[in-house]
């Protein structure tokens, strides 16, 4: 179930004029970012490992997670951001949800990556930085969307209320 998140992804792309302004630019900055990929990934896992909860989550599979992170970073700059891109990213969100990784970690890691990308791309100008931040924001939105939809699904299961009713009830809040 990813309809709401997908709708938001499409709306966000339109709102930010992502396909027009940023999508064409992202492949042109890929090499610059990927040159620092190992350093960025290593630093971020080193930082994560300082947090006891996160350290437990990544323990024993850091190499595997680093390899996955490299693929994820590579795909950020592939230049196509349609349905297939969305579905892959949403799947990542679902994996985070299933692994019971608190959304807090998605947010702090995204924050770290925003700074790392900005530092890496600052020499290439504001458009390059904006493009990298725009795709990071979209990715974070999709992953957080997976958490939101999982919570709604679980709330629906526990209460017996369908999701439309839950949304209606919240509109009275």
């Amino acid at each position: 179930m990813s309809n709401l998140t997908k709708e938001n992804f499409i709306k966000a792309k339109v709102f930010t004029r992502f396909d027009e302004l940023y999508a064409p630019l992202l492949p042109t900055i890929k090499a610059t970012v990927m040159q620092r990929q190992n350093e960025i990934t290593d630093t971020f896992y080193a930082e994560l490992s300082k947090d006891p909860t996160a350290a437990n989550i990544v323990a024993g599979r850091i190499d595997q997670l680093k390899a996955t992170h490299k693929i994820w970073m590579d795909e950020l700059f592939n230049g196509t951001y349609g349905d297939e891109y969305f579905e892959r990213r949403y799947k990542i969100g679902e994996i985070h949800v299933k692994a019971k990784i608190a959304p807090y970690y998605v947010e702090v890691v995204t924050s770290y990556l925003r700074r790392a990308f900005a530092e890496t791309l600052v020499q290439q100008g504001p458009e390059a930085v904006s493009a990298a931040l725009a795709i990071l924001d979209l990715d974070a939105m999709i992953i957080i969307g997976a958490y939101h939809e999982d919570r709604m699904r679980r709330m629906s299961e526990v209460t017996g209320m369908n999701q439309k009713l839950l949304e209606t009830l919240m509109s009275f809040g």
């Binding site: 209460t159 369908n162 209606t168 009830l169």
Partner: protein, 121 residues
């Protein structure tokens, strides 16, 4: 030939006429939408959503505690009461009753309406 809406309204009107203890009534969908609003006042949308929520939770509780199929909920407030009746899991009948209402008569009439509405909806 009467429309479904007219048939529902007819059942509700008959029920309302049965006893002055019934102050308002309505039929609501599981999504929390009002199908027929005879509640009076301007709380119809909220009443529909909360009534549907009440029905959903009641259904969940009856399933969890294994007490059979959910049939009805009776809420007693200090000033009035609220009754909710399941209609074949496709809708619910919500009724507000006055304080000190003759619940025997209200329940008798309401269950009959519940059965009739089950055939219409």
């Amino acid at each position: 030939m009467a429309t479904k809406q007219e048939k529902i309204d007819a059942v509700l009107n008959e029920l309302k006429m049965a006893t002055s203890d019934i102050k308002g009534l309505g039929v609501i969908s599981p999504d929390g939408m009002m199908i027929a609003d005879h509640l009076g006042g301007d709380q119809g949308d909220a009443a529909a959503a909360m009534g549907a929520a009440l029905g959903s939770l009641a259904k969940r509780v009856t399933t969890t505690l294994k007490v059979g199929e959910f049939q009805e909920v009776n809420i007693r407030g200090t000033n009035a009461g609220i009754l909710l009746f399941d209609i074949e899991s496709r809708a619910a009948l919500i009724i507000t009753v006055s304080k000190g209402a003759n619940l025997g008569l209200v329940l008798l009439e309401a269950r009959q309406a519940q059965s009739q509405l089950g055939q219409i909806i």
